[in-house]
Assembly symmetry: C2
Homo-oligomer: 146 residues x 2
DNA sequence: CTTGCCTCTATAGTCGCTGTAGACTGTAGG
DNA sequence: CCTACAGTCTACAGCGACTATAGAGGCAAG
């Protein structure tokens, strides 16, 4: 049962050292053991935990959802419907964003094909940006950040 | 030629008062006239300018691109290829994100259908999140923020 | 005149990290 | 042993694109 320093953990999990400490500070990672001189020492379960977090974050799960799923894992004998619900919510979110992005793509494409070169003051891209009312109604709303 | 206060401009353009002041502070909006008591006074061109900014931002154009396009509008007799290039770049960006999101959607869908209910410790959603190596290789990378 | 909303400036907070400074620790070579 | 150098520690500042707050002053209607 060897313990590893934060640097080794960082490499093992593909998560930066500073980020690991940050996760600890926001209580996503529990407090690790410490060496006599105060350095953090981790076991293999820390790699697992970090992979879980990174994978979920890469899939776009919000921090809060990650936290909930981690909490749920501490009660392994419970029903997993809660996990399921979180994942479904995330899927719905991704789909919403897809729809939005598709509308954006359409409008950008239209803008670009409308511009046939020429001077800035007659450019269709500029004029479209100046006047949203020309747009397909509600084709795009303010974009949610992802 | 009536001038309006920042509150009226805010309503006319659908941009919050604080955001207008913020845009001024980062030099996206020029300094407006002031009343004798120091209140900002705007003309109609400010509404236009704000609409332009909002529309571009809603379409996902980065701040820097918006700034460039505004600068280009000050030289209306120039060739609009620069505008075109910025829009094409933005389109490419949107398409990249679309691809990424589609991959995400696929993986989330797969995760969810794999889970057939049961206990947390055997849940396929959890186990998939714990072990990325099960994933379709490189199906998703760290998500760029939008 | 008072009420109530508007505007002003300056500053801090948001999220999810990332980077820095300045001090200490651990290890390998000479 | 000494010296280098890489790793680690804490604490705090910075990012982008706003948003919110505090505390002061302005303006029009009743
Ligand atoms: Zn053009
Ligand atoms: Zn539009
Ligand atoms: Zn499940
Ligand atoms: Zn995956």
């Amino acid at each position: 049962m060897t313990q590893m320093t934060i640097g080794r953990l960082s490499k093992a999990a593909g998560v930066k050292v500073t980020t690991i400490r940050y996760y600890e500070s926001i209580d996503l990672m529990g407090e690790p053991d410490r060496s006599s001189s105060g350095q953090r020492l981790y076991g293999d379960e820390a790699v697992q935990r970090l992979s879980f977090i990174r994978h979920a974050r890469d899939l776009g799960f919000p921090m809060e959802a990650v936290r909930e799923m981690i909490d749920l894992q501490t009660q392994p004998d419970q029903d997993c419907t809660a996990v399921d619900a979180i994942a479904r919510e995330q899927l719905a979110d991704v789909r919403k964003r897809l729809t939005q992005l598709e509308a954006l793509e359409a409008e950008l494409k239209r803008m670009i094909t409308c511009c046939e070169g020429g001077r800035v003051d007659t450019c269709r891209i500029i004029s479209t940006l100046n006047d949203h009312s020309e747009c397909i109604a509600d084709a795009h709303e303010r974009l949610s950040t992802f």
